[in-house]
């Protein structure tokens, strides 16, 4: 769970969440691969440099959708049921993520929009690598629930 998150009701456009850091090392990549292949340790562009090079990549790359789960869990930490029932994520993968990359997740409020189910908090989100280069960019949103 993320620590130090603000109260979502207090967030206004322009406010940013404290960044979250997650590392995607070989072990994380292999664990994710084992999960998506039903428990198998397969060689593919995500788990093996040689297979990746044969596919035209410089070396193995993490699955782009893997860290999208980090965004979803982060938004759930912040918005709880308002993300699980009413949340949205839209992302574009702009650069590969390589084994060992340390990702910084950033989220800045773009808009508070009133809609039928309540107030929607819309964030601009990004994953930056350790060189501060965006690797995944997009948006995430969820509903503010009164607690």
């Amino acid at each position: 769970m993320s620590q130090g998150l603000p109260r979502p009701a207090d967030l206004r456009p322009g406010d940013s969440l404290p960044p979250l850091y997650r590392e995607i090392g070989w072990e994380e990549i292999r664990r994710f691969n084992r999960y998506v292949t039903g428990g198998n340790d397969t060689k593919n562009i995500h788990t093996d440099d040689e297979v990746a090079r044969r596919a035209g990549l410089p070396r193995a790359v993490a699955a782009g959708r893997h860290p999208v789960a980090f965004i979803a869990e982060w938004m759930t930490d912040l918005l709880g049921a308002g993300f699980l029932a009413g949340g949205e994520i839209e992302v574009t993968f702009v650069k590969p993520i390589y084994p060992g990359d340390r990702l910084q997740l950033t989220a800045t409020v773009n808009e508070r929009a009133e809609e039928e189910g309540g107030t929607r908090l819309l964030f601009e989100v990004a994953l930056l690598n350790q060189e501060n280069v965006p690797v995944t960019v997009g948006s995430a949103s969820g509903l503010l629930l009164s607690r």
Partner: protein, 144 residues
């Protein structure tokens, strides 16, 4: 029977790639949490939705799994992903999944495919939808 290759000529916009029903189990949830480093009591115990629920991204691999059940796929490079979470799936719930090709196009010499995963719960209500835009191998594709 051999499955068709996952290439342009074997796909068309509107086609249903496959459908299936699966049960969301506690073991699936635990495996997902281990794979993505998620940890939340709601996934194991009580939640505001009445009992344990699955993480929002529990179906992270199911679109590709359904493609693999119906096509010979050689890997997929995703460019974009979009998710809409209507409600969480409950642990123990049987859900229906359907993958549909929403669009196929060629841009800057590359083939692209937009696929949708639609997940419905036991009552037929929508649990979540996701749109996946990925590179598609061109065989006889034409720009246009």
């Amino acid at each position: 029977m051999d499955k068709p290759d996952f290439v342009w000529e074997n796909l068309s916009a509107g086609m249903v790639v496959g459908e299936r029903e699966i049960t969301v189990t506690a073991e699936m949830v635990a495996a997902h949490c281990g794979a993505v480093g998620a940890d939340r009591a709601w996934y194991r115990e009580e939640s505001p939705f009445g009992g344990p629920i699955a993480p929002p991204m529990i179906f992270i691999n199911d679109l590709l799994a359904i493609y693999d059940e119906n096509f010979r796929r050689f890997g997929t490079i995703h460019a974009k992903l979009a998710y809409r979470f209507h409600r969480p799936a409950r642990v123990g719930e049987r859900v229906h999944q359907r993958v549909t090709v929403k669009d196929l196009y060629v841009r800057r010499g590359k083939g692209w495919i937009v696929s949708e995963l639609l997940v419905r719960g036991e009552g037929g209500d929508v649990v979540c939808t996701s749109l996946h835009t990925s590179v598609l191998s061109l065989t006889r594709a034409r720009e246009g």
